[in-house]
Symmetry: D2
Subunit: 339 residues, 4 copies
Amino acid sequence: MIIVMKESATLAELGKVISTLEERGFSPRPNHGGKSTVIGIMEAKPGDLTGLDELPGVEQISPVNSSFKMVSRDYKSEATTIKAGGVVIGGGEFVVMAGPCGVESEEQLLSTARMVAQNGGRVLRGGAYKPRTSPYSFQGLREEGLKILAQAREETGLPIITEVISPELVPLVARYSDILQVGARNMQNYALLEALGQLRKPVLLKRGLMSTIEEMLLAAEYLMSGGNTQVMLCERGIRTFEKATRNTLDLSAVSVIKRASHLPVIVDPSHAVGHVDYVADMCRASVASGADGIIIETHPRPEEALSDGQQSLTFDAFAELMVSLRPIAAAMGRTMAGG
Amino acid sequence: MIIVMKESATLAELGKVISTLEERGFSPRPNHGGKSTVIGIMEAKPGDLTGLDELPGVEQISPVNSSFKMVSRDYKSEATTIKAGGVVIGGGEFVVMAGPCGVESEEQLLSTARMVAQNGGRVLRGGAYKPRTSPYSFQGLREEGLKILAQAREETGLPIITEVISPELVPLVARYSDILQVGARNMQNYALLEALGQLRKPVLLKRGLMSTIEEMLLAAEYLMSGGNTQVMLCERGIRTFEKATRNTLDLSAVSVIKRASHLPVIVDPSHAVGHVDYVADMCRASVASGADGIIIETHPRPEEALSDGQQSLTFDAFAELMVSLRPIAAAMGRTMAGG
Amino acid sequence: MIIVMKESATLAELGKVISTLEERGFSPRPNHGGKSTVIGIMEAKPGDLTGLDELPGVEQISPVNSSFKMVSRDYKSEATTIKAGGVVIGGGEFVVMAGPCGVESEEQLLSTARMVAQNGGRVLRGGAYKPRTSPYSFQGLREEGLKILAQAREETGLPIITEVISPELVPLVARYSDILQVGARNMQNYALLEALGQLRKPVLLKRGLMSTIEEMLLAAEYLMSGGNTQVMLCERGIRTFEKATRNTLDLSAVSVIKRASHLPVIVDPSHAVGHVDYVADMCRASVASGADGIIIETHPRPEEALSDGQQSLTFDAFAELMVSLRPIAAAMGRTMAGG
Amino acid sequence: MIIVMKESATLAELGKVISTLEERGFSPRPNHGGKSTVIGIMEAKPGDLTGLDELPGVEQISPVNSSFKMVSRDYKSEATTIKAGGVVIGGGEFVVMAGPCGVESEEQLLSTARMVAQNGGRVLRGGAYKPRTSPYSFQGLREEGLKILAQAREETGLPIITEVISPELVPLVARYSDILQVGARNMQNYALLEALGQLRKPVLLKRGLMSTIEEMLLAAEYLMSGGNTQVMLCERGIRTFEKATRNTLDLSAVSVIKRASHLPVIVDPSHAVGHVDYVADMCRASVASGADGIIIETHPRPEEALSDGQQSLTFDAFAELMVSLRPIAAAMGRTMAGG
């Protein structure tokens, strides 16, 4: 259920509503964004809120028409913006996050970071902990990788995003990283989502390979119901019968999520198509789809990358791509850094 | 196998190669487009062409590296352009085809045709024969519908595209229509493909719901191996587990096809997403994906449409969409009519 | 809508109901199978049948709760049995149909037919017209193949099943074959379904690779609404992300169809799994799933087959399989020939 | 790489091979099952084992022909059997595991446990920790549920299987449960797999909704490479376009896994089909597919279940099912308890 307050309601009236709810055993979470203040009451049944609509300042009480609540546009009509370092995601700027799949060495990451910054990239990506399908594959540099990422931020000013793969690692990764990423395979790792819900740092939640949009929104609800409102969603391709691309990029998900939710949407074309030949086309299509940003892979020597080399852009290809994105972003009414 | 002629080869030399091939029982089809003349020999095995590489004017003989041949970029490196009425598809213009799902009445179609023409649409779509999942659904106005389409062309000058659903109907539909459409359910109806291969009119081949990109290219090969070179391909969504949209629009297919084939690619966002809320976003993404055009549904009163009303744009929404497409087309280096 | 007659109704009363319906413009089709006589009225709306429930002998008038009608268990509660030659499909016998993917030669087919008959196979399969993904693949022996099939029936007594790929071929194939098969790629080729609906011979309708169970039942409705009641359905695997098998055999479809429809269900494990290693396991699972029969591929020399050799059983493997099926059929309360 | 020892090799010879490997930095794991002793060396490259083939008792050194190693039939040709309580899984008995989706109360679980035991069920299932798509759904009784499970084992003698959802919970769940289950959503939760790999208790690994068979085998490799050899695999349906059933049961996976791996395979028809109407058919098909057992849901009052009621069998339906399974198991050469 959500309680919508009048625009003219006073803080005292709001306080009364909140204390009444607390007396009834609820933990009310007022949301002040958008056109009005809304209080979401999880798990309330119609009868639980009897009489509340008669308190001064209350506009109406209504059920949320979806299985997800706090992530819904019904709950918060205004688009959420998220700050990481000096970058605002979900606002007027189309944000490009880029970097290697995995952090492999100081030289590799720093050269990439400098190139990304020079060409208008705004956030540096790089995996320190790599969840790998086989136990015998490269598992990442772990804390050493986090340190190299922090060093690259120091030098270039780019905020960093990196993946966290288990609840125990959340405090460590949060200490180094500006945005914590939940990978596709962990989208429904609820222990991890609960740990991240306690955090007060931005989280990028990647869609599972076989997850519906609704399931992704419900996973985001785990984060938000824990109290972390800095959530962004990432479309990264779903598994289908088509094998010409690694996965099938579902760009219509951007359109669907933007109508259903107030959270920012990022697209990851690199993992979706899985081959460098198709990445630039899908980056351009992502801008025009209405996404708030993209996250892509670039590597100084893709052919030597320890993971995902076949989908990583060379530095030249990245620079060329950025040039081609700007006029499309402008056509969509968005700014882009650099250029 | 393909035989590549030298740029300096004379017609006499070409003639000699052709007659030699005919003596060996082949039906050679020289292709003069692109940088060089190429002769595709279907079903030839390496030994069949022994000695041919020694004929004057022959540059080289090589296998085509794919199960499709005439549709391949290897066979013809230059992009194919197709003319329908005064419209060129596959060239520098981004072409919008629009109209109702089914032709329902003269009033409905003519009012739509006028609106489409005024707003920069270039081809008029409308189904006269409707393949329907249930035998009890509206099956189309049939020949009466074709006549109304021709009348709309007469009045507005827009060339028309309409679906043909069986081999027997090919002559009739070809008499009225500028472009013949093969629907998704008929993509592997080989009897139909063979009949259309005999035609010398443009064909738009829609991807089957369950078809891989390779299977679509092989279906196009049926058309081209019959001698019809005026083929364009249409991505219209594939069937996946995700049900928030009717199908999943696979925009990366545009990128994959453009690299693998010389044929123009059109996107049909209306059937892919199946709901009007998401159509405009996916039209914009289609332009930026590198497609040569889109085909979309619009209806004077979508809520009264006999089929697919939920995915048809109102006239106002269509006009608004067209305005938003132009700057993206410009950013992609494409022109668009009107504006 | 369906009109259910009382068990005690007389033929005169039935005649009155039918003539009343005809006066109102309907073409009533009484169905006398099962516990009661039922008249299905296609496309009727509730108001169209006003007053009919007051005619003598009418038990009740009710809507059919599904988009398919004549194929539904609501329309005919008793299981349909189909006779082909001396074989009854859909009754107490578990029926094995077997033979090569394509008819390649007299020797190949006759040796296979003899072996199938000796081991308890009841129907001979073999393709004379092959719908192939590539225009350059073996397309079948065509009428020559039909003649060889007829010859094999002559010699062994096995009724034959073969595929028909276009409406024009229906009369020719019907002249030779006991059961006509609609292939997966033609499941929604409505021109073909309409031609077969006019026939009065058994048809086996294969599920399309991408088709839902409901769509298959609606395709069967095309056949039945044309007047052909001798329809059986075939589960042959659907296209999914899993590539360890050619398709994913959806055995739960047997269970779903058996509850929704009165038509017999056959399983084709050969095309579903696509590899001989897994065929026998899935044949055994098919028996236990409640299917009425299976259709499988066997070839004297699988490694030399012109199509689908990798999924064809050797003669020894076929004989061994048949021995293993009998006790499972018995456990399911079914008989099997031979043994 | 795997090192295969001769059948005639002595323990002293084996010791020498092991110590040589340890000197070179490896942690050799000899496997004595099957026809021969095999030592798997993870991550070894061909050069690392130079000279080892000359040691006495070594038959040959060869690469494992798959990305998974210890789970492979190449590594261990004999089928693995797993003991839980007095029950042997993967041997000559077809094992039925049954119980409610979630433990809801002492009364509910104990009455179910008694009924399962009386009808020949061999393992009691019941979820104490429930991973739920929505944060607002019933999350299980947690440790209280584990205690009730232990009490039911006490009374009935049935070993118990229950799910563990995060690495921290492994010690607690292992204290109560005979078999630990990894749920579909956690199949690629590598932190959890690593924790379970350290355990020396049976683990049932469920296939992810979106996981290929190869990925499931690689997830099992995480468990085995940690040293836990008591692993069984569970097919529980994959996500496809078909929505008549909750998921699509992929019974051919049983056949594929049985050829590729030595581990036991269990089928979960309840979660695959998601509706009680189809569960019994798919249980019977599972027996005939060659699976080693099934795990199914039953509840005293399915309509009141807090989760998955629509797919839970009543007690009567369970008893009836068990009677129908026995002759099929016998036809497959398997025993079943009770009856």
